[in-house]
């Protein structure tokens, strides 16, 4: 009965989405407040019904209601509660329901929270969200219904793929979708602006918090996914340039570009038409990502069994959304009023360079990801594009980006002085040289990429600190005055510097782990020792250990620093899940914050147990850097609400339909 209520809610959501789109768009066209208000209510109704349907799915998973096909295919009585709930979105149907729920929630959020937006702009944004909603709710209802029943009802479920039964992966899809789908708001704002024929600094100020929120979630989602790949897959890597990973990287790159170009629109009223295009492309890339992951057209190490017919459905939705948006852009963009002028050497110029590098990098990833598909379709040959391609095409662009990143914030708007900016970066340059020569010394020459990576990491971190130091005039005015200045800095400035430093930290992590990792693979017997990076591991054998819904073979390794003191025991596992007759590898990881020691065990055979030991220097910095980036983003987000004229929740009773930001 409950599941039928959920199905009913899904159908209701479809009707609500249709009403939302039609009422809002027609209302905005006729400037009819009643229509627009009804459209906003429809948006809340759509989000509410989808939340109800998703709640029903969660409930069915929690209750092990195997009469629901989705539960019987992914559930199991013995599964811990967290994974019963995560099972709701750890599969195609459930994750698509989550996708449309996030989409509708963003639409409703704009309808409810966007009180300070001009009424017609808000209605158009809500209407476009509704249009996207129609397509994808229809997809869920027709092609991937998560609440469909099955008969006969099985006694036990098939269980969730054990490799997905993991805390980081339980959190990965929700964050990834908040990011992916969050860019739909920027898209809807872009379409609404094209319909209105007006893009101005106020528009950019409204678009930015949504984009920033989506960007933070996407950054976190990608970091969680790569962290999971690192410790759960047991391959010792954290990024494989796999199509599914690239699918999330592409919207991140163009979304990052969008964040920066929106700043130019906001501060200088320039780059308007480009920013609109970028908003369209970013969401388009999110849809491409959804298509690549859901259709299985590309061979991927992350791929799961998929249904090609659904891929076609998503492809049609993608073509309609992007095709429609670009047609509208081609028709309306030339009518946008041209923006202000600036010199090439200026803050705007630096941000244009940022956009060029990010979108070009995004294009190289796009080509690398889709070229195999193209070659297969045209010549019938199967190829794969692996890490070396990205190392040669993507990395040089990132090097350029990092070089420019420290200098950009030090340039003035309109016309900057590059020589003066570089002069102020002397500490960063010193840090770069010291770190690069230290690297050269430590590894005795070695790959030049390590010098570049570590050097640029230091350059970026110190450059970000320089940006803040310059703003508070550190050491040039008394410290008390500097700290007073710091307290008065806009949070977005501090947030940006923190996010830039976070990228620097992550770059150090990536460089260190890619170039300095050491690996030992051997077959070990009880009592044997293996040495790696100054550590000694003694193998104490493997014993069986029952878990909630699996049986583990747990290996024990005594860890010593050289031949000195014991540092405890490391216990990598192989877990056998009887319900799916599948084994997963659980790595044992010991981190010092500077480096990880990583041990996995393979299948025992006649000669002993296959043991793989890695030493990953700096790898924790990758995720540390990502967290710092997200923290910077959140700090910047906190700024927006406090600023005069920036989006602020209106108090009840306040008439705020047409308030235009004070400093627009």
């Amino acid at each position: 009965m409950i599941a039928e209520l959920g199905q009913f809610a899904l159908s209701l959501a479809l009707i609500a989405a249709i009403a939302q789109a039609i009422l809002s768009l027609v209302g905005a066209h006729r400037i009819d407040a009643r229509f627009m208000a009804a459209g906003a209510r429809a948006a809340s109704l759509q989000a509410g019904s989808l939340a109800f349907a998703f709640g029903v799915l969660l409930w069915s998973h929690a209750q092990d209601d195997f009469s629901v096909r989705n539960v019987s295919e992914n559930g199991h009585r013995l599964k811990p509660m967290l994974y019963k709930l995560a099972g709701a979105w750890g599969n195609h149907e459930g994750s698509m329901l989550l996708w449309i729920l996030v989409l509708a929630a963003f639409g409703a959020a704009v309808a409810l929270r966007g009180r300070q937006l001009p009424a017609t702009l808000r209605a158009r944004v809500v209407g476009v969200q509704g249009l996207i909603g129609i397509g994808f709710v229809l997809f869920v209802v027709l092609a991937s219904n998560p609440l469909a029943r099955m008969f006969p009802v099985p006694f036990e479920g098939n269980d969730l793929n054990p490799i997905l039964q993991d805390p980081a992966l339980a959190a990965h899809p929700p964050f990834l979708y908040l990011g992916y789908v969050g860019f739909s708001v920027a898209f809807s704002f872009a379409i609404a602006a094209l319909l209105e024929g007006r893009v101005d600094p106020a528009w950019a100020r409204w678009v930015r918090p949504w984009t920033l929120a989506a960007w933070c979630c996407l950054t976190l989602g990608i970091a969680l996914g790569s962290w999971w790949a690192y410790y759960e897959l047991g391959w010792g890597g954290w990024w494989f340039w796999d199509p599914v990973e690239n699918a999330s990287l592409m919207p991140w790159l163009s979304g990052t570009a969008l964040l920066h170009s929106a700043v130019v629109v906001e501060k200088r009223d320039a780059l308007k038409s480009w920013t609109v295009l970028l908003a369209i492309l970013t969401f388009a890339l999110s849809l491409v990502g959804t298509f690549l992951v859901r259709s299985g057209v590309l061979s991927s190490v992350h791929a799961f069994a998929v249904d090609p017919a659904r891929g076609v459905f998503v492809l049609v939705l993608l073509a309609l959304t992007v095709g429609g948006a670009l047609t509208l852009y081609a028709w309306r963009a030339p009518q946008l009023k041209l923006g202000g002028l600036f010199r090439p050497i200026s803050r705007e110029g630096a941000l244009v360079l940022n956009n060029l590098l990010l979108t070009t990098a995004c294009a190289t990833v796009f080509v690398g990801t889709l070229y195999p598909l193209f070659l297969d379709a045209t010549q019938g040959r199967s190829v794969s594009v692996g890490p070396p391609y990205y190392l040669r095409s993507f990395t040089p662009l990132m090097v350029g980006l990092l070089v420019a990143m420290a200098a950009g914030p030090l340039l003035a708007w309109k016309r900057g002085d590059l020589a003066a900016a570089l002069q102020r970066l002397w500490v960063a340059l010193l840090a770069l040289l010291i770190v690069a020569s230290l690297t050269w010394y430590v590894q005795g020459g070695g790959p030049w990429l390590a010098l570049v990576g570590f050097g640029l990491g230091a350059w970026t971190i110190v450059g970000a600190a320089t940006d803040l130091a310059e703003r508070v005039r550190l050491f040039r005015v008394p410290l008390s005055s500097s700290s007073a200045r710091f307290a008065n800095l806009p949070r977005s400035a501090i947030g940006a510097a923190i996010a830039h430093a976070g990228l620097g930290i992550a770059v150090v992590g990536m460089t260190g782990s890619a170039l300095w990792q050491s690996e030992r693979v051997l077959t070990m017997q009880v009592g044997e020792k293996v040495e790696i990076a100054g550590y000694t591991l003694t193998f104490d054998g493997v014993h069986k250990e029952p878990g909630a819904n699996y049986v583990a073979e747990r290996g024990a390794f005594r860890l010593q620093r050289g031949n000195g003191d014991g540092l405890g025991t490391m216990t990598p596992e192989r877990r056998f899940y009887p319900s799916q007759r599948t084994t997963t590898t659980e790595a044992a990881i010991r981190t010092t914050g500077l480096a990880d020691l990583y041990v996995v065990i393979g299948e025992p055979d006649g000669n002993g147990t296959v043991v793989r030991v890695w030493h990953h220097p700096f790898v924790p910095w990758i995720w540390g850097g990502a967290i710092v980036m997200v923290a910077g983003g959140l700090l910047s987000l906190a700024d927006r609400r406090l600023r005069v004229g920036a989006p602020r929740a209106s108090t009840p009773g306040k008439v705020a339909a047409n308030v235009v930001a004070a400093d627009a």
Partner: protein, 151 residues
Amino acid sequence: MTRKRRRLYTLLLALTGLGVATALVLTAFQDELVFFYSPTDIAANKPAPGRAIRLGGMVEQGSVQKLPDGVTKFRVTDTARTIDVTYKGALPDLFREGQGVVAEGMLAGESQFNARTILAKHDERYMPPEIAKSMKKADGEQQHSTGTLLK
């Protein structure tokens, strides 16, 4: 600076970026594309020695041999032809006899393949599209030549 001038500069900058990116992509493609081969493809059209390729097919039943020092030997088949593979390292969890496999590495000798990585899958039901295609192709050719129906 006039509007026209600015536009020209932006355009030039964009074109330079595009040019650099195209050059990077093309040179990287020339050297780094990894082609996918089935055992039949290798017999028909041998890849250049020392060039990294991906080999895909099924792990032949009863062919997996585990040697000391973590070396595994097995045979990959597409039902028409077979090739010997050597791999040192831990195998992915879903590596099994009779299951699809993709190995990346280089050809060494007539029908000997040294794998650097064995690509894992996350899902037992999943078959990489290339393998599905090459199995189908090999099936078709065999049906053609021997007239027997496989599967």
